[in-house]
Every structure is written in C-alpha cells, then in structure tokens.
C-alpha cells in the first residue's frame, strides 16, 4: 500500500529525513522526466533543478495546506523553478546555447487547416523531432496532460493560470505541433527532391 503522501509531508515539516527520502523515491522519476523536457534535455541541469525542487519542499513543507494534491503541489514548485532557471540562463548563458522562444499563447504560427496533412503525420520519429521544437510552455502542457496524467484543473493549479487558459493553451500547443510537423515535412520533401 502506497504511503499517504499528506502524512509524509507533515512528517517532512517536522524535519523527518526518512519521510523526505520516501517522497524523493516516489516523485523523483516523474519530476526528472518533466524537468528534462523543460530544460532543453540537459541532464546536469535537470538534476540540479530536481534537487532544488526537493530542497524547496524540505524548506516549505510546513506551508502546504492540503488544498491541492501533493503531486500537483510538487509540480507547481517544479514549474516555477524551471521557469526561473530558464530565465537566469537566458540572461547569463553558460556554455551551450539555449534558444527557445518562450512565445505567448497567441498562435504565432499560421493557422493550419486540419485535414490537409494529419493523416500523413504518423511518422513517429518526426513527431519526436517536432516535440523537441516546441516552446517549453507548449511542451509543458502536453507533457502534463499526456505523460504525467494531470487533468485540466490540476494543470491550472500547477501553472497558476485559470482553467480556461489551460484549455486554450493545449489547443495552441497542438496547432504549434501541427505547424512544426508541416515544416519538417516540407523540409524533408525538399531534401528528397534534391537527392533525386
């Protein structure tokens, strides 16, 4: 039977390291995978921020009031720390370039018609490639919904935005993904023509 997460947090708030270790074991893998995509696939950076998330949990466990699920609360901390980490690094790049336009919710991409290409989009490799091209903001909402299994209300809590924004954001993310795929398709087409 899984340990009660709220009880774990209460114990952590009293400075119980064993409880902390349980929580760490429970959530580290999920947070790692979420942060990995949020931090440009940089494993070192991901580990650093993951540790920071748990450090923040350790320090502020007493402020958890049980309004949200423990998982939601953890991801909310992770979301904030990842955004901070990206902001800091963008200002002071330390090595490998990190270029992700953190675009807003407005569909900057041309709005694509839905039926033109979707049936052709089943190339999985290309889908992975397209996902890597998404902005962290769009990638995040897809990750939280499809990989981490959060519902729209929980994602709203994690991101600190209204639920309506989450719904529109996921649809913008999908449009961005479609546009990306279209571009990749077009590029591939050009390459094939050149080869011929």
């Amino acid at each position: 039977m899984p340990p009660d997460e709220r009880a774990l947090l209460a114990q952590i708030a009293t400075g119980d390291q064993h409880a902390m270790k349980c929580l760490y074991a429970l959530y580290r893998q999920r947070l790692w995978s979420y942060l990995y995509h949020q931090l440009a696939g940089d494993a070192g950076w991901t580990e650093e921020v993951t540790q920071d998330v748990f450090l923040a949990v350790w320090r502020s466990a007493d402020t958890y009031r049980g309004e949200a699920q423990v998982g939601t609360w953890l991801f909310r901390i992770a979301h904030n720390l990842a955004a901070n980490a990206r902001r800091t690094r963008r200002r002071h790049p330390l090595g490998q370039p990190f270029q992700t336009a953190d675009d807003g919710d407005e569909p900057a991409e041309p709005v694509v018609t839905y039926d033109s290409h979707e049936e052709a989009v089943l190339d999985r490799l290309m889908l992975q490639q397209a996902l890597d091209h998404l902005s962290p903001r769009h990638r995040e909402v897809l990750d939280l919904a499809f990989y981490q299994g959060f519902g729209s209300a929980e994602i709203a809590l994690i991101l600190g935005v209204p639920e309506g924004t989450v719904k529109s954001r996921i649809s913008y993310a999908r449009k961005a993904l479609s546009a990306c795929l279209q571009q990749l398709n077009a590029r591939e087409g050009v390459v094939e023509e050149e080869v011929q």
């Binding site: 790692w32 450090l55 002071h92 996902l131 919904a145």
Partner: protein, 612 residues
C-alpha cells in the same frame, strides 16, 4: 471540412478525453457525440497520436542518476535546515520551547551571524566619522557661540555617514561570503534586513550619544536636535540600500552624497551648506514613513535579486572582456617590444610606447563603466542648476558682478563637483587588477610597475574627464545663450582647465594611490569626509585646507590668476586675495602632492612585489 459550432465544446474536451482525465459525465457525452461526428473522431485520432508521441518522448529520455547517489547529495543539503529555517511551529516539539521564543532565538542567531559577517572597517569608520562630526560641531558651537551652526553640521553629516555605510552592506562587491551565504537557508531578505538593522541602530545609537553630548555642552533641547537628523538619516539610509541593490555601491554613494549636497548647498555658492528642504520642510514622521517604504522597496529588490544573482557572474563575466582587452594591450606592448629590439632603441623609448598602451587600455576600461556615466549625469544635473539662472546670485551693491566673475565661479563650482566625482570614481581602480586577476598577465608585459601605475592614472583620469567636460560644455552653452554672448567660451575653458585639471589630478592620484592599501569603500567614506572638511569655513574654529595652496577647491587660482572677487562682502574671507604666483603655487602644489602620492604607492607596490 468545416467545424460546426456544436462541435466546439466537444473539441475542447477531446484532448482530456484522449488523455483519460475527463470527468465521467463529460466523457459519456463525448462518446455519444463521437458516434455521430466523423470530424471529431478524426480530431480525436490526432490527439491520440500526439498523446502517444508525448508519452513515448517522456520515456525515451536520458536516465536520471542513480537514486541512491543523488539522494546522498540532496540529504547533505538538508542537514542544517531544521535548526534554523523550519518554522517555529514545527520545531516546537523538538526544542520544547514556545514558538515566540523560538522565533526570537532565530532572529538572534541571524543578527549575531551577520554581526560577524560585516567588515570591522565599517564599524570603525562609522564610529570615527560620527565622533569627528560631533567634535567638529562642538568646536564650532564653542567658537561661534551659535548652536544653530553646530547642529547644522551634525544634521548634515549624520545622514550622509549612515547612508554611505549602508551602501556597502550587501552585494557581491562587498561580501566575499555572499555565495556561501546564499546557499544557507537564511533568505536574502532576512540577511539584508538584519544587516540594515544592525548598522542603522549602531549609527543611530552613536548619533544619539553625540546629540546627548552636544546637549550637555550647549544646552540645546535633545529632542529638537534628534528630530533634525533622525528622519533624514533613516530616509537616506533606506534610499542608499535600494540604490546599492540596483546599481552597486559606487553609484549609490555618489548619488546619495550628491542628492544630500544639492539639498543642503545653496546653488551658486558652493561653500555655504545648510540643512535644506528635507529638514526644514518635512517632519520626522513623514520621513520615517518614507524610509519604511524605501525598506519595503529594498526587500522587494532583494527578493528579485536581479543584480545580486547577476553579480556573482558579473565578476566572472567581466573577466573575459577584460582578458581580451588586456590581451590586446599585452600584444600591443609586446609588439612594441619586438620592434624596439629590431631598431635597437633603448628601454626608455620602449617604456614610452608601453605607457601609450597602458593609457589606452585604462582609458577604455574606465569609460565603459556605467557608474562613470550615472555619477557624471547626476553631477551634471546639479551643476547645470547653477548655470540655468545666473541672476539668482545675491550681491552687495558695492561689489562688482562681471560676466567674467560669474564664468569663473561657475567653472570653480563645476570643478568642485568634478573632483568630488573623480575621487569617488577613481577609487579602487588600482585594486581592480587583483580582483579581476589581471595582475599576472599584466606583469608579463614589458611595462614596468611605474609605467603601469602612471598609465592607469592618466588613462582613467582622462576617461573620467570626458563626460564631465561634455556636461560642462552644455552648461556654458546655456549661459552663453542666456547672455547672447559666445565670447565667454575661451575664458570658460581656460578657467575650467586651471581650476579643475589640477584638482582632479590631485584627487585622482590620491584615489589611485591610497586604494592600493585601503579597502576602496573605506577610502570613499574617508574621501567624502575630506570633501566636507575641505569645504569648512577657513576662518572658522576648525583648521581646514581651504584657501591654502593644498586645497583642490582652487580659491587661490581663482583670485590669483583670474582676479576673481566674490559677490558679497561677507564672502571675502573665503577668497584670500593673492598674486598670480599664489595661483601658480596652488597648481604646482596640487600636482606635486599628487605625484608624491603616486610615487609612494609605486614604492609600496614594488616592495610588495619583491616580498612576493
């Protein structure tokens, strides 16, 4: 296919349906709709494809480091926390003490920790400065018999002393342990506030003692005196905390001293300072409220920590830029070396070429500093106030106010601001090679220690002149436009050159020489004290350099070379009449004193290098 409006609601639900997180009622509705709508079915298929892709991507990532190892790392960082940072409610049981007691103990721990982290020089400098201010005002009140002038001095000096100290409280420049401190669970806010509280209460305590002493000495009302300085002291300290968090200590000290001077100095007559607007017009309660608002702003700034976070990397990011520039300097020097050897010229020639390289390097290093431009613009704004309305000069009917006289006093007034700014801006330039770890690279160039020191001096002084002269030109142009008389330009430039150049060279030499062995913030602190001392009334009870050949205010230059006469008979005491040789002696003495200071610094550096 055209999406119909009735599908809109279902479309919004589809991603959550595909992810399996849609609530049951909505799920049933979607399922029913899908039976009858092909478009939505296709849309769902896309979502499912995308969802599968996302979850596949979630699994196909680099594996995290082994759980055990990373837990070891994390748990090492957890250990010190329960003692201090966990809120009192949680540790209540562990310590068996009440939350209030625990909180008190926490405050005490932080305060005590910060007491030891602040530099001892800060306490000493504040105490000495306050003691000096009190002594001076006591002497002044005994000599003049007027308690008003004595309290004026105290009211002027105390806020300035406190705010200068506060500027150096926090930040990467002043706190070698900042990096370490940031890793502890004590927040920047707590550190900042506790340091501020410590230094401010230390200063305020000493100032109260000084006031008490003055009260016993001359029988003034204690509260009247205290209420004169308390408000401005709090406000200026809070302001300088904010400024130092955003712009760093140099700009903060410069801006606050200028603000306070502007508030206290009567325009056009740089020697009479008296408590200005802030003291006479506003009451203490209002000033204290403003100070608290300032503290809130500082706390907000510290939590954003933009500059502070950047600060650590600024120190390192300055390095590559400097390294390339100085590499360029070294290459320049080395190439001079080679060509000299080819031509078989002596080492004297080589050093002169090397000097050119050093001057150029130091010039660019100084002119790109933001603080140079900010302080200059502030200074400029102040001195421009003088230029805008020359008719405000009050004068006796029997004194002659000529345009020439006005131009000369404008030049001298600008020069006064120049040398104050130059003294602050040049402090620490000699320390910089060590802090940026450039000294070893520079040591490999053919330039000798003396060449480097002298080149640093000339290059950075020249760079400091540039913005100041630009501002002065604006002022003179305003004056010329006002009079429709452009023939004043030659006199304006000559007067500035005669008064400002020796003063800035004199002060700059000391700023560069003294900071080779004094911590630069402490030097700035002492320098402002020197500035105030120099502007004391020469006929007053406290001996001052003003009016002698060693004063950078250059009154002998004004009267000796430019035949300046003040506009009021009462001011005659400030301007000792002298011959042209008196003026020349003033210039020569300043330059000679500067050269001696530089040579002494050179001797000290050579001795140090030999010991290494």
């Amino acid at each position: 296919m055209i999406r119909s409006d009735e599908c809109a609601q279902y479309r919004e639900w589809l991603p959550w349906y595909a992810a399996g997180t849609l609530p049951d009622t909505e799920r049933a509705a979607v399922e029913q709709h899908l039976h009858s709508c092909d478009a939505c079915t296709r849309e769902l298929a896309t979502w499912q494809t995308f969802g599968a892709g996302v979850s596949e991507a979630g699994q196909a990532i680099e594996p995290a480091p082994p759980l055990h190892a990373s837990w070891e790392l994390l748990s090492a960082r957890l250990t010190p926390v329960p003692d201090i940072a966990v809120s009192p409610a949680q540790t209540q049981n562990a310590h068996g003490a009440s939350p209030a007691l625990h909180r008190l103990r926490w405050f005490w721990l932080v305060l005590w920790g910060q007491t030891r982290l602040l530099r001892p020089a800060m306490w000493v400098a504040s105490a000495v400065a306050i003691a000096l201010a009190a002594l001076c005002s006591a002497l002044l009140s005994r000599a003049t018999g007027q308690s008003a002038s004595a309290s004026d001095l105290l009211v002027f000096a105390l806020p300035l002393i406190s705010s200068t100290g506060v500027s150096f409280l926090y930040g990467p420049e002043n706190d070698p342990g900042l990096e370490l401190g940031r890793a502890t669970p004590t927040t920047a806010r707590a550190v900042l506030l506790s340091r501020f509280a410590l230094l401010f209460s230390f200063n305020a305590g000493l100032a109260l003692l000084a006031t008490l002493a003055l009260m016993l000495w001359q029988g003034a009302s204690f509260w009247t005196l205290a209420s004169l300085w308390l408000g401005p002291m709090a406000l200026l300290s809070a302001l300088s905390l904010c400024l130092s968090l955003v712009f760093g200590p140099t700009i903060s000290v410069g801006a606050i001293s200028l603000f306070w001077l502007a508030n206290s100095v009567r325009a056009g007559n740089g020697i009479h300072w008296e408590p200005g607007l802030l003291v006479s017009g506003w009451n203490t309660a209002l000033l204290l409220i403003l100070a608290v608002l300032g503290l809130f702003a500082a706390v907000f700034l510290s939590s954003r920590q933009e500059r502070l976070r950047a600060g650590a990397s600024n120190a390192s990011s300055e390095l590559p830029i400097d390294a390339t520039t100085s590499l360029a300097a070294s290459v320049h020097l080395l190439s001079a070396d080679i060509s000299d050897n080819q031509h078989g010229k002596g080492s004297r020639m080589k050093q002169s070429v090397a000097l050119g390289g050093v001057i150029r390097y130091e010039f660019f290093m100084q002119i790109r500093r933001i603080s140079l431009w900010v302080v200059s613009v502030l200074l400029g704004a102040l001195s421009l106030i003088q230029f805008t309305d020359p008719h405000t000069f009050t004068h006796d009917a029997n004194m002659l106010v000529t345009r020439g006289n006005i131009v000369v006093i404008e030049a001298a007034g600008a020069a006064g601001f120049f040398w104050l700014g130059a003294g602050l801006l040049l402090a620490g330039r000699s320390r910089r090679d060590y802090t940026t770890r450039m000294d070893e690279i520079l040591g490999t160039t053919p330039a000798t220690m003396l060449t480097r020191l002298f080149g640093k001096y000339i290059g950075s002084v020249l760079a400091t002149f540039i913005p100041m002269i630009l501002i002065y030109l604006i002022g003179v142009t305003l004056l010329a436009l006002n009079w429709h008389d452009f023939s004043i330009f030659p006199l304006a430039m000559v007067a500035l050159a005669a008064v400002a150049i020796p003063a800035v060279l004199f002060v700059g030499a000391f700023s560069i020489a003294c900071t080779t062995f004094i911590w630069p913030p402490l030097y700035m602190f002492l320098f402002i004290g020197y500035y105030l001392w120099d502007s004391l009334d020469p006929k007053g009870p406290i001996p001052t350099l003003d009016g002698t050949v060693l004063s950078p205010s250059g009154r002998l230059i004004m009267t000796g070379i430019f035949h300046f006469t003040p506009f009021r008979t009462t001011d005659l005491t400030y301007y000792p009449q002298t011959s042209i040789w008196g003026g020349v002696a003033n210039i020569v003495a300043l330059l000679a004193a500067g050269a001696i200071a530089l040579l002494a610094a050179w001797g000290l550096e050579t001795w140090r290098a030999r010991r290494r």
